[in-house]
C-alpha cells in the first residue's frame, strides 16, 4: 500500500508545504523532487522561514521575487485558490561554491483547507522552466532577426530602381509591386495591387505577354523579353520600352504559385539606338540620294576598296583595281589630280574635280573628296572619301558661262548702240537721282558724265523750262508714273534745242520701285515744223477772218435793206446765209484757238461774274437758234466765279451745241448747276446717241469725233471739246463726261469758286513760246 507520504516524496513535482504563519511562512515539509531542483537538503529547509531558506537572489536584485512570493501566498490565502507566479528568475546557489545557477520558474501556491474551511497550509510547487524559457528567448531573438531581415528585404524591394512584381495564380493577380514598377507603368500602387494584370493594363493584351507568363507559370522556365507599352505619363502618352525577366516563384514543395517579374525601363537606350539607326539610315540615304560613290584607299599598299556606285561613275559595272580608275581620267586633268593628292597629304583633305572618259568616249565629271588618316609618325596611311558625279552641274555651269558671255557681248553691243544713238539715254534710282547718262547726252551738253549725276542734269535745261521739267519729274516720280516732258536744252555749241524726255518706271523682281530708265529725243525739228504749221494756221485763219468780216457786213446790210423794203423771203435767205457765216467764223475761231493752245498762247482775261445769270444769257441766245430742243435750266445758287467770261461762255456754248447736235431724236437738254466742295459744277445733259464706253476718255482729245451711223454723220472739226477741256483745265478746273450709248451723255465741268485775288489783267497760263534755237 502506497502511503500518502510516499506519494509526496516520490512525485516528480517539486513540492514544499508552507505554514500560513505570515510573515515567516515556515517550511513544514519538502519532498525529494524539490530538494533536487533547488540543490538543497532537508535540514537546510525544514522549520525555516521560506525567505530565510531562499533569500533574495543576489544576482537578481531587481526582480522583487520576495515581494512577488509574499503577494502570491497572501492571494492564495485570501482567495482560497491556487495562485501562480509565471516565469520568474530565481538563480539557485551552486552548493559548495559562491556561484549561482540561472533558473527560471513557474510556481503555483495552492491552499489546503481544514474542516472549517480555513487555510491550513500552502503547497508551494515550483517547476523549473529554465530550458523552456531559454528556448522561448531564443525563439524571440530568431523572430526579431527574421523580422529585421524581412524589413531589409522589403526596403530593398521597395527602393530598388528595378521594377519588381509578383503575379499570383492564373489571373496573374498582382500580389506585390514595388514603387519603381508603379512609376514605370505610371499608375499608383493602390490601383494595381490585388488586381489582375490585364485588367490594369488592357493594352498589354495581345502582345503575347499572357502566353509568356502562362508559359513561365506552367513550365517554370524563366523568360526574358522586351515590350513597348504606351503609358500615360504627365498627361502624355509615351511609348515606353521595358526589358523584363519572368521567374517562377516556387513554394517549399517546388510547386509554382506565382511569377516574379523584374522589369527595367530601357526607353532611353532604345530611343538612342533608334536615333543612331535613323542617323545611319539618313546618312545612307543621303549617300544614295546624291548617288555618291565611296572609296577607301590604303596609301601604303596603294590598294583601294570602292563601292559599286564609285565604279559606275567611272563607267565600270563593278569595282576594279585602282590603276584601272586612274587610267580613265582625262589626260588634261592628271596634273590637277596629282596636285590635289600632294596637297591632301599636307592639309588632311582631298578635293578635286576631274573628267573621266568612259569606254564609249563620253566625258563625265567627277568630284573627289576625302579625309586623310595618319599614323603615329604623321605619315599619311589612308584616305576615305566620296565620289560624286557632277556632269550635269558642270554642263549647266558651262551653259551658264556661255550665257554670261553672250550677255557680255550683248552688253557691249548695247553700249555701242547707246553711245551711237541719236537719242540720249538716262537712268535714275528710286529717289530720282540720275545714275547714268549715255554718251549722246554728254556730247549734247559737252560736260563730263559725273556732272549729270543726281540732279546735276537740270542745270543744262534753259532756265524758263527748268522748274517745270523738274517739278513734273518729281510728281511722276512720287506717283511712279510714266514721265514725259518737253524742255529746251542748252547744247555745248551754244544752241538751244528742244527735246522730249521720257522715263519708264522700273521695278525690282519683288515689285518695289527701282527708278527710271528713260530717253531724251531731240524734237527741235518737229517743234519748228509744228511752229511753222501753227503759224501758218494762225495767219491763215486771221486772213480768213478779214473776208469773212466783209461778207458778214454785206450780209447784214443786205438783210436789213431787204427787210426794210418788205422782201421777207429774201431777207430770211440772207439771215440763213449769216448763220452759215457765223459757223464759218466759229470754225476759224476753233482753228485759231487750237494753234494758240499748241503754242501755249491761249490767253485768259479773268473777271468776276455771276455765273448763273451769265449762263442764263448764253442759254437764251442759244435757245433762239434752236427751235427743236428746249434748253431746261436746273440751277442751284452758284455765286460769283472768277474766270475768263468769254472763254467759259465758249465752253458752255460748245457743250450745249454739242448736246443739241448729238441728240437729233430728242427734244430737250437739261443744264444743271450746283456748288460742291468749293467748286462750281455745271452739267449739260442730253438724251441723244451717247458715247461708247471705250471712247469716253478720247472725247477730249484733239480731232476726236463721234461717228454716227450712215444717216447721221455729224459735222465739225472735232476741236470743240479739246478746246473746252484746255480752257477748263487752264482755268484750274476739271471736265468730264458720263455717257451711255443710246441713252445720252452728261458733260460736266467744275471750276474753283474763289480763285486767288487776281488783278483782272491778262493772265497768261503757259510759258511764252520762245522757240527756235537756230
Amino acid at each position: 500500500m502506497v502511503e500518502y507520504k510516499d506519494i509526496f516524496d516520490l512525485t516528480r513535482a517539486a513540492l514544499l508545504i508552507i505554514a500560513t504563519d505570515a510573515p515567516s511562512y515556515t517550511i513544514l515539509d519538502v519532498n525529494n523532487a524539490y530538494l533536487s531542483v533547488t540543490n538543497s537538503s532537508r535540514e537546510e529547509l525544514i522549520n525555516k522561514s521560506v525567505f530565510a531558506a531562499f533569500p533574495a537572489n543576489p544576482t537578481d536584485e531587481v526582480s522583487k521575487n520576495i515581494e512577488r512570493t509574499i503577494f502570491s501566498f497572501e492571494e492564495a490565502v485570501r482567495t482560497k485558490a491556487t495562485h501562480t507566479m509565471s516565469n520568474y528568475r530565481y538563480d539557485i546557489p551552486v552548493r559548495g561554491t559562491d556561484e549561482f545557477e540561472e533558473r527560471y520558474w513557474t510556481t503555483s501556491n495552492t491552499p489546503v483547507l481544514d474542516e472549517d474551511g480555513k487555510v491550513k497550509f500552502l503547497i508551494h510547487s515550483p517547476s523549473n522552466v529554465t530550458e523552456l524559457f531559454k528556448l522561448g528567448e531564443r525563439e524571440k531573438a530568431g523572430i526579431v532577426a527574421l523580422r529585421e531581415q524581412r524589413q531589409q528585404l522589403y526596403a530593398t524591394f521597395m527602393q530598388t530602381p528595378v521594377g519588381i512584381a509578383i503575379f499570383r495564380g492564373p489571373e496573374l493577380m498582382v500580389d506585390l509591386i514595388n514603387p519603381s514598377l508603379c512609376e514605370m507603368v505610371g499608375k499608383p500602387m493602390k490601383e494595381i495591387i490585388s488586381k489582375p494584370l490585364f485588367e490594369i493594363f488592357s493594352y498589354a493584351k495581345g502582345q503575347g505577354i499572357k502566353k509568356v507568363m502562362e508559359g513561365v507559370r506552367i513550365t517554370g522556365i524563366p523568360y526574358k523579353g522586351q515590350i513597348m507599352v504606351p503609358i500615360l505619363r504627365k498627361r502624355k502618352i509615351e511609348d515606353v520600352y521595358l526589358n523584363f525577366v519572368c521567374e517562377p516563384f516556387r513554394e517549399i514543395d517546388r510547386s509554382i504559385s506565382a511569377i516574379i517579374a523584374v522589369v527595367t525601363e530601357v526607353t532611353d537606350q532604345v530611343m538612342a539606338k533608334q536615333k543612331l539607326e535613323e542617323a545611319e539610315e539618313r546618312g545612307r540615304l543621303a549617300v544614295d540620294a546624291v548617288e555618291m560613290g565611296t572609296y577607301d584607299l590604303d596609301l601604303s599598299t596603294g590598294e583601294m576598296i570602292t563601292s559599286k556606285r564609285f565604279a559606275n561613275i567611272f563607267g565600270f559595272a563593278e569595282p576594279v583595281p585602282r590603276k584601272e580608275y586612274v587610267r580613265v581620267f582625262h589626260p588634261d586633268d592628271y596634273a590637277r589630280r596629282e596636285r590635289a593628292h600632294e596637297e591632301a597629304v599636307i592639309s588632311g583633305r582631298l578635293f578635286y574635280e576631274a573628267r573621266i572618259i568612259w569606254k564609249d568616249n563620253s566625258i563625265h565629271w567627277g568630284r573627289v573628296e576625302g579625309k586623310v588618316y595618319y599614323d603615329a609618325d604623321r605619315k599619311a596611311t589612308r584616305i576615305l572619301g566620296t565620289l560624286l558625279d557632277i556632269t550635269e552641274q558642270k554642263l549647266a555651269k558651262e551653259e551658264q558661262q556661255k550665257l554670261i558671255k553672250l550677255l557680255q557681248d550683248n552688253e557691249q553691243l548695247f553700249r555701242s548702240i547707246t553711245t551711237a544713238a541719236p537719242t540720249a539715254l538716262w537712268m535714275s534710282d528710286e529717289n530720282g537721282a540720275i545714275t547714268y547718262v549715255n554718251q549722246t547726252w554728254i556730247d549734247w551738253t559737252g560736260r563730263p558724265f559725273e556732272e549729270h549725276m543726281g540732279d546735276g542734269w537740270t542745270i543744262f535745261i534753259v532756265e524758263e523750262d527748268r522748274k517745270r521739267a523738274g517739278d513734273k519729274f518729281l510728281t511722276d516720280l512720287n506717283n511712279r508714273n510714266f514721265y514725259e516732258v518737253e524742255f529746251r536744252l542748252k547744247h555745248a555749241d551754244g544752241t538751244v534745242r528742244w527735246c522730249v524726255a521720257n522715263g519708264k518706271p522700273q521695278n525690282n523682281e519683288d515689285g518695289t520701285f527701282r527708278g527710271y530708265i528713260g530717253s531724251c529725243v531731240d524734237i527741235t525739228e518737229q517743234k519748228n515744223l509744228q511752229q511753222q504749221k501753227d503759224d501758218f494756221i494762225g495767219i491763215a485763219s486771221h486772213e480768213l477772218k478779214t473776208p469773212v468780216t466783209s461778207i458778214k457786213a454785206y450780209t447784214q446790210v443786205l438783210e436789213l435793206m431787204l427787210s426794210k423794203v418788205g422782201e421777207t423771203k429774201e431777207s430770211t435767205l440772207i439771215k440763213r446765209m449769216d448763220k452759215q457765216v457765223n459757223r464759218l467764223t466759229s470754225l476759224i475761231g476753233d482753228l485759231l484757238d487750237v494753234t494758240k493752245i499748241n503754242s501755249g498762247r491761249l490767253q485768259f482775261n479773268d473777271t468776276e461774274f455771276d455765273f448763273n445769270s451769265y449762263l442764263h444769257e448764253i442759254i437764251d441766245d442759244l435757245q433762239r437758234t434752236s427751235a427743236k430742243h428746249r434748253l431746261i435750266e436746273d440751277f442751284e445758287p452758284t455765286g460769283i466765279v472768277f474766270a475768263d467770261k468769254d472763254r467759259i461762255g465758249q465752253v458752255v456754248a460748245n457743250l450745249i451745241t454739242n448736246a443739241i447736235k448729238y441728240s437729233p431724236r430728242s427734244d430737250k437738254i437739261i443744264i444743271h448747276t450746283s456748288c460742291q466742295g468749293g467748286e462750281l459744277h455745271l452739267c449739260v445733259q442730253d438724251f441723244g446717241i451717247g458715247i461708247p464706253e471705250n471712247n469716253l476718255n478720247k472725247v477730249f482729245e484733239q480731232f476726236y469725233r463721234v461717228s454716227g451711223d450712215v444717216q447721221h454723220t455729224f459735222p465739225g472739226l472735232g476741236l470743240g471739246l479739246y478746246i473746252s477741256s484746255e480752257i477748263i483745265q487752264r482755268e484750274g478746273g476739271r471736265i468730264w463726261v458720263k455717257s451711255k450709248e443710246g441713252q445720252g451723255s452728261i458733260f460736266c465741268f467744275a471750276l474753283p469758286l474763289r480763285k486767288a485775288v487776281a488783278t483782272g489783267e491778262n493772265v497768261q497760263r503757259a510759258p511764252k513760246e520762245l522757240i527756235n534755237a537756230k
Binding site: 478779214t546 468780216t549 466783209s550 458778214k552 454785206y554 446790210v557 494758240k596 482775261n605
Partner: protein, 119 residues
C-alpha cells in the same frame, strides 16, 4: 434832223473799208475811210466824232496810233474803238487808251450800239 456824225474808219483791207462803210452809212453815219493809219497821226483839223481803228494794219500798230491820239490834247477827246480779228488783245486795246473794242467779224447791231454809246 440831227447832224450826221462823222466816223473815221481805218483798215488796210479794201473789202473791210467798203463793207463797213456801207454798214455805217446804213446806220446813219457819215464815213471817212483810209488804209493809211499813219495819216491819223498828222490830223490837225476836221476831227471825226469817232475813230474805228483796226489794230493790225500794215506799217503800224493800231494801238500805237491810239496811244498817240490819246496823248495829244487836240485829239484825246475823240472816242476810239479798236478792231481786231483776235479777241485776245482786247485788254491791250483798253490799255492803249481805246474807249471800246470789237472783234472781227462782228454783228452789225453790236458795232452800231457801241458807236451810239460813244457819240
Amino acid at each position: 434832223m440831227n447832224v450826221m456824225k462823222n466816223i473815221m474808219l481805218v483798215d488796210d483791207d479794201p473789202g473791210i473799208l467798203d463793207s463797213v462803210t456801207v454798214m455805217l452809212e446804213l446806220g446813219g453815219y457819215n464815213v471817212m475811210s483810209t488804209d493809211n493809219g499813219a495819216q491819223l497821226m498828222n490830223m490837225e483839223s476836221d476831227f471825226p466824232d469817232l475813230i474805228l481803228l483796226d489794230i493790225w494794219i500794215s506799217g503800224v500798230d493800231g494801238r500805237d496810233i491810239c496811244r498817240h491820239l490819246k496823248a495829244n490834247e487836240n485829239t484825246n477827246k475823240i472816242p476810239i474803238v479798236l478792231v481786231s480779228a483776235s479777241r485776245d488783245i482786247e485788254i491791250s486795246a483798253v490799255k492803249a487808251g481805246a474807249n471800246d473794242f470789237i472783234s472781227k467779224p462782228f454783228e452789225m447791231n453790236d458795232l452800231l450800239n457801241k458807236i451810239a454809246k460813244l457819240t
